[in-house]
Symmetry: C2
Subunit: 224 residues, 2 copies
DNA sequence: CGGTCCATTGAGCACCATCAAGACTTGTGG
DNA sequence: CCACAAGTCTTGATGGTGCTCAATGGACCG
């Protein structure tokens, strides 16, 4: 079991970098750009897969619904990621919901266009296979961590992953405890207890409503 | 969350059905057939992905290792399934281990051959995308069920899935309780308690070392 | 100053893994 | 065929982890 838990991080080159200029033009004509506000879902679980989406800017949470309607986060996606391709390829409904965590712009690529493009372009198809292999492994790791690892370990991982993106003011760390809890895969209550336990051990500093790492090496040790 | 938990069931047409006669011949020349005994792994987690495998006959358990070396079953594969393609596509190591549960014959397709084949054949690539989308979703369901559902519910599902393949003498139901427990994602002790609790409720019959379903509709209700 | 939202803290408990012992089966050699 | 051994299944007792429900404490804002 590898890392797999935590924040989105930039991936290698775009999926569509292998298209010919002509195909790129066709794609540009067929796709429509749109901007989404936080909380305004891009697509919903169990609705027909009408399109794939090419994220240009923003951060998107991918989750599935539990029995009580609770969110179970499978991963985060960001610029350069393609969303919804699995359902489009499989031809049924979306299995997940894609929720922007911040203002997000993405290109909508209609199902037909996407499928045709993939069918006609072997290099694109192979690239998509690579991408899919990568993401599935990541999701597998994340879900397995949910089964295998304790809340404190998953918390440490998420804090490390979320912290190391930019400099000091952790960029994508949710401000609400409930969102952070869902990202870790626990409840706000348990998260609160966990964080304060880490503070009492001198690993975190929870002053003025923010989370600061005080003892990075201990945190890493917890996450390992 | 759909079914996804349980036994292997036959899938639609073979992955390689879309190859031209010439490519099929090339594949036949490049692949080597081999037979595996139960317990003799086809490939191991964390070893270099040297080949994909085309299962001809048998039943194969796909699992990943927990921290204590314990097995966590991700799925079962059978005739017509291709194994190891994800690691071959991604180009690294296998992320899972493939263990035959019974005598299994499979064709070994060297990495280079498989990759070349997929690269050169758009229809094969698209077919593989479909297969991958399918399996991915299944694994996701299974792991999510592990997080969301109780042991008794998962047990009911596995019993239903394993029972409905053939007629009376459930074919692939593991004889050892430990194997069944791992398939469900629990321990032999908990499984024993669960089964006997189901028996006391009149749903199962555990006479002479076998599991018979006495009240199918209750079992379905538990699994829902 | 009340009100609302959120974080925190407490108490209780459900579920399931673990450890340990006993019951039963199966296999083996005398 | 019996006796013993090894493996497997069962049952009991215990404990840990983390969820739920409920109450409290602050912060921000009208």
């Amino acid at each position: 079991v590898k890392f797999g838990i935590g924040a989105w991080s930039p991936r290698a080159g775009s999926l569509f970098s292998c298209l010919t200029p002509g195909q790129l033009t066709g794609l540009r004509d067929a796709q429509t750009w749109r901007s989404y506000e936080a909380g305004q879902s891009i697509y919903y679980e169990a609705t027909p897969a009408f399109a794939a989406f090419n994220v240009h800017e923003g951060l998107v949470k991918i989750w599935r619904m539990g029995h009580a309607g609770d969110q179970h986060v499978l991963g985060l996606r960001g610029p350069g990621d393609v969303l919804g391709y699995r359902a489009v390829i499989a031809g049924g409904s979306y299995a997940v919901t894609a929720d922007p965590l911040e203002r997000t712009t993405a290109a909508t690529i209609p199902r037909e266009v996407f499928v045709t493009l993939v069918r006609d372009n072997p290099r694109l198809a192979f690239r998509l296979l690579e991408v899919m292999a990568d993401r599935t492994l990541e999701t597998e790791d994340r879900l397995l961590a949910r089964v295998l690892d304790s809340v404190i370990k998953r918390t440490a991982r998420v804090l490390l992953a979320l912290g190391r993106e930019h400099g000091e003011p952790a960029p994508h760390l949710p401000k609400k405890r409930e969102d952070l809890a869902r990202l870790i895969g626990t409840t706000p209550e348990t998260l609160s207890r966990t964080l304060h336990s880490l503070e009492s051990r001198g690993i975190l500093d929870l002053s003025n409503r923010e989370i600061h790492v005080r003892d990075m090496s201990s945190l890493r040790h917890l996450a390992d």
